[in-house]
Amino acid sequence: MRRLIASLTAVATAAFMLAAAAPAAAQTEVTLWTHWAAEKIKRDFVEDAIRRFEEKNPGVKIKASWYEKTALYAALKTALRAGQAPDIFYAEPDQVEYMENGFLLDLSDLNWQNIEPWAKEAWSYKGKPYGFPLEASTVELYYNKKMVDELGVKIPDSLQLSPDAFLDLVRRAKAKGWTPMSLGVGDRPFPGAYLTHEALLKKLGTDDYDKLLKGKLPWSDPRVVDTLKWLRTLIDAGLLPTSFTSLKLGEAHTYFHTNPGAVMFLNGSWYTSRAFNPPDKGGQPKDFPLGVMKFPAVPGAACNDCRTLSVQGSYVANADTKRKKEVLAFFNSMASEEAGNRWLENVLVQTGIKSDVSKITGPNAEYFRLLAATNKDAKYYFGAPSQIMQGKAKEVFTQVINNAFPAGTIGVEDAVKQLQASY
């Protein structure tokens, strides 16, 4: 009897342990908090990547929670402090505070062979990489080919207008009652700054431009002042919409391609994520004559081929995660040229994952050909000012260079003085 009871107990214990162990093995859950709740094509890409990963790793489930960026950042700040943050979360390289405070997992063990070196560099802090760079973008000057033709302006083969030709284009557009360039800062801290930082980058070249952003070159440098004065000439010629200060990003897109229509639109190359949607969802009209040219040459520029390339939406891992192996496996599952091409083809914006544009086919192949042409011979500076500058300098840059200077409410001298005092 005793033996029977002992046997039954042993069997029951084994069954219990098996029952307990089996679901645990099948239920390893990796949590992911991510931006892009409202950006369907990026969300589709990530959900597809999760599905592919889960198929190959049956014991692991990725539980994604979708947010809008502001809400996500606020939630993360609290969750990280409280030790309740997810295993993986969305971040951008300018969020150095995560690295400074030891919240991020060192991703040195990741398979970096299929990641662009500049993207890895963008996420490196004290020699170690911390982010998986999904999204990258350049600043592009989009234009309406039909309107430019009607103005009698020919875009040269180099795709870059000279300073005089650009000013002439602006004046011709104004004379016709058209807005030369759509741009608005109603709800974003960066669109107005595109104008200034692309011009300053060309004027100074990458090294001095880097010094300027980091406070090692004074804003009173004559080259900086000259560039701002040149930009002021363009602004005074009526380059931007009269509603520039209140025009929101989404409205600026529509302003360019639909109503009332502008000749040009200076925007990140993620223009496509809004404009290539159906027209009833805010996309550009069917058969819209979209052209892409280079930012105009800047008078006396050190490097007219210089342009900004910045890493944006990325995934990072929580330093306290107990599922490091699964997290790295998930990142590695996206670190392939095939995944990079899938991102390009579906999201229509550059990525930090290595990809091959020549393999892109279908209706958007022509767009990538245009993008490749404007980026030919480009010398990149990696990172937007908002990613390089911190604290007060960043705040002043946002208020002055993004808003007040292009709006014409502050002069060159005042702008220089305020920026100089911000470091």
Binding site: Y73, A74, K77, L80, R81, D94, Q95, V96, E97, E100, N101, G102, F103, G186, P189, P241, T242, S243, F244, T245, S246, Q390, G391, K392, K394, E395, Q399, V400, N403, A404, A407, T409, I410
Partner: protein
């Protein structure tokens, strides 16, 4: 006058339970026994009743207050904090953006109550005088206060839009097109434009409170004034306004405090721009705590502490000044 004077001349009400006086409880249970009568007090019951409220107060008011004060003397980073003494306060003293935010907030808090309460009084008098359509206007004028700042903010971003906003459209229609501008995009007009929004939003609330005060005025006083051949203007200046003065002052103080804390409307419409012309202390604290790429809560706590002291001092000053005036009057 009579009723106010009567109230003022009434003997002070003794505290509940004071020896020899029947308070609200004493009226039912008889005079409260002296403290050393040897009767055991139900301290356990008292504590049981007080504990929930005290716990909530301690957790959500007292602790955050003292923690903020403590933080203000520290650099508060995740997993560690470092005592920095008065360093945060010294930095704040030289923080140009903070003082700009203080100036904007004080301008807002000192002008807005005047507009709100003055217009509200005029509207309340119109309703009190039963203008045609009074019932409709009472609802219409009160409606804005029912909306959230988020909705109002979005609404006014459209209303102030340069190209197609109704304000500029009206100006152009009136032949005043040269006055059209980006109201929220111009550093000179952004703050007044937002003050106009809060005035529009809160006037209805003030109006309803004042209307209630007008309706509760003692009829015999009004009738006595009418018997003395007082016209509307005289009744207003010599009878109605003195009688509703306490309500007016309370509304001014309430509005003042509300504007000293304003955040949501600014965040939705301008985020403190352009050129910090609409930056308020609340938006600046938020930026420093959550948008300046730092986890440090010490400096934002310093701003919050200093601002608390400023608001408290302002409210006490206002209250003191109003009391002084009352003393002078009587």
């Amino acid at each position: 006058m009579t009723s106010t004077a009567t109230l003022r001349e009434a003997p002070p009400v003794a505290p509940v339970g004071a020896p020899g006086q029947a308070g609200a409880t004493g009226a039912v249970r008889g005079p409260a026994p002296p403290p050393d009568d040897g009767v055991p007090r139900p301290y356990g019951t008292i504590l049981a009743f007080l504990l929930p409220a005290l716990t909530l107060y301690a957790a959500f008011t007292a602790y955050p207050f003292f923690r903020t004060l403590w933080n203000s003397f520290h650099k508060v980073l995740p997993r560690r904090s470092e005592f920095v003494g008065l360093e945060n306060y010294a930095t704040l003293a030289g923080d140009e953006l903070f003082w700009r935010a203080v100036r904007n907030t004080l301008i807002w808090a000192s002008t807005s109550p005047l507009f709100e309460v003055t217009i509200a009084l005029l509207l309340a008098l119109a309703l009190y005088a039963k203008v045609p359509g009074a019932r409709f206007f009472r609802v219409a004028w009160f409606t804005p206060v029912l909306m959230s700042y988020v909705v109002v903010g979005i609404l006014f971003v459209w209303i102030y839009n340069y190209d197609w906003g109704p304000v500029n459209a009206a100006l152009r229609w009136l032949g005043l097109g040269e006055l059209a501008r980006a109201w929220l995009g111009n550093p000179n007009t952004a703050l007044p434009a937002l003050i106009a929004v809060t005035t529009w939003m809160w006037t209805g609330f003030n109006m309803v409170v004042l209307l209630a005060a007008l309706h509760s005025l003692p009829k015999e006083v009004i009738e006595a004034a009418e018997l003395d051949n007082c016209g509307w203007g005289q009744k207003l200046v010599f009878v109605i306004l003195p009688l509703v003065r306490p309500t007016l002052l309370n509304l001014v103080v309430l509005s003042f405090i509300g504007k000293m804390k304003i955040f949501d409307l600014v965040w939705i419409t301008t985020k403190g721009g352009p050129l910090w012309s609409t930056e308020t202390v609340s938006t600046y604290v938020y930026k420093r705590a959550f948008e300046w790429s730092t986890f440090d809560l010490g400096y934002p706590s310093t701003i919050a502490t200093v601002w608390f002291v400023i608001v408290l001092a302002a409210v006490l000053t206002l209250t003191y000044a109003f009391r002084l005036r009352e003393k002078l009057e009587y």
